[in-house]
Symmetry: C2
Subunit: 255 residues, 2 copies
DNA sequence: AATATTTTAAATATCAGATGTTTTAAAATA
DNA sequence: TATTTTAAAACATCTGATATTTAAAATATT
């Protein structure tokens, strides 16, 4: 009836460091260790666990990679419990998406699900300060369109700002991660001057609708913007890159 | 005009292991190292980098935590480049959400954005095999409602299956991660028998609409299901937990 | 008295090398 | 030929020594 695989997890390595990681992560997730708590020194904790310093240090490196610990050197240094930050998660997603290599169509699809809804909420919650921020973002971006500085992170910041207005952590995380991944693709494709102008115009229309506090109009403007971006990217040809149904490939690697 | 902080990144630790992590991760992300490639042995690579074995091992632990390497023991073992898997990312998100502690409202909001759209696509793409899978999932779940086994991961699997039908990696990742986090909350709240029955009924209605290949109906059923789940969770009182506007708190910790 | 400098101690970072364990391939044996 | 044994390659762990970093304490200077 049931295969054993359905019942038991495969037993992984018995590495000491993994055991320690499991214990400390568990203590944090159970709330026994709080943000800012300092763990005993390497020497003491290694003794307590009955392991060598090297094994403990490997565990520390892993927990640090998870973003759960921060290790400080020097007197009154040590290992401190830390809140996992956005950067840790975003870096992880970058690693993941590198192998997944989503297609432009996939990026567009997830964006059309979320971002029009986001701006609908924004239209109801946005403050004058927020609008100032967005207008400023657009004018900074227009400067870059003319200059050499090319795109930078202003596009990402625009969409993240809108997501942040929803005050929903998960939405912010998703929007920012998708934007970051997408902007990497744009960089690879080396989008041209016209494309950047189009992006600025789209952003202006969205902010215009938000100024009127019109949710439906904002939603429609965002949807159109997303589609225009997709069209622009699909139209873009670049010698090194190949756009396919299943992703963006470097042609020279022949993957 | 510009603060130096805008121009330069703060220089972090000069830890040797971090330097090595940076180099190897860079080589993978630049495509110089491919999936399955084996790095030189600890001894050789440490020599090549001009560092001690311990430093190299710490770097390996970090890259392993990122999901980029798999280290195998024994003859013809070693460090192999690996595709980052979903589990790595999900675990990271669990860590992140533990500190963010999103509210039920936030979970519902992101779900209402994505999942009704997902089933609309499903209604167009779903196969008979997929429908069999979903029906089977529901009947397995009904068994658990009566028994002791309580919920398990079938609820998550149902929603993930729908997400997978879209063939959009990012959607699958998001839906599965949100589901996993939400199910942890449900476990804490110890949802009762009626709630589980309601979930099964909701799933049945969704599959019903999918059988008819009716996108709008499927979308509406999913939306209603999500709202029912929210209502059910908000109505649930549990001695150890407190539901607030900003999240789910353990009352005894007094956070 | 206030400030600047130097010293010191606690903690992590790194290294070197010895020993143990795991895994697989090859060699020996049945 | 099939099985068992053996050997070697690679990671896992431990020990202990040395270097570096950092903040606080002590000292010197203004």
């Amino acid at each position: 009836m049931h295969d054993m695989k359905d019942i038991f997890d495969t037993v992984k390595s018995n590495r000491i460091s993994e055991n320690i990681v499991h214990q400390i992560r568990g203590a944090i997730l159970r709330g026994e260790l709080k943000i800012g708590d300092r763990l005993p020194s390497e020497k003491d904790l290694a003794m307590k666990f009955g392991v060598s310093k090297s094994s403990l240090r490997e565990a520390y490196r892993v927990l640090e990679a998870y973003g759960l610990l921060e290790i400080k050197q020097g007197m009154s240094g040590g290992a401190f419990v830390k809140e996992v930050d956005l950067k840790t998660i975003k870096d992880g997603l970058v690693n993941y998406f590198f192998f997944q290599n989503p297609s432009i169509r996939e990026y567009t699809q997830i964006r059309t699900f979320i971002e029009p809804e986001v701006v609908k909420i924004c239209a109801l919650k946005i403050t004058d300060n927020d609008i100032d921020y967005l207008k400023n973002n657009i004018s900074e971006m227009e400067k870059e369109v003319d200059g050499e500085n090319f795109m930078s992170d202003l596009d990402c910041a625009f969409h993240k700002k809108l997501a942040d207005i929803t005050e929903n952590t998960m939405i912010s995380l998703i929007v920012e991660s998708v934007q970051t991944a997408l902007i990497n693709v744009k960089r690879m494709l080396q989008m041209n001057h016209d494309f950047l102008t189009m992006v600025c115009d789209g952003h202006k229309k969205i902010v215009g609708a938000l100024c009127e506090r019109d949710p439906d109009k904002a939603g429609k403007e965002m949807l159109q913007h997303i589609i225009e971006v997709e069209t622009g990217m699909l139209a873009c040809k670049n010698g090194d890159m190949v756009l396919t149904e299943t992703g963006i490939l470097k042609s020279d690697t022949g993957r």
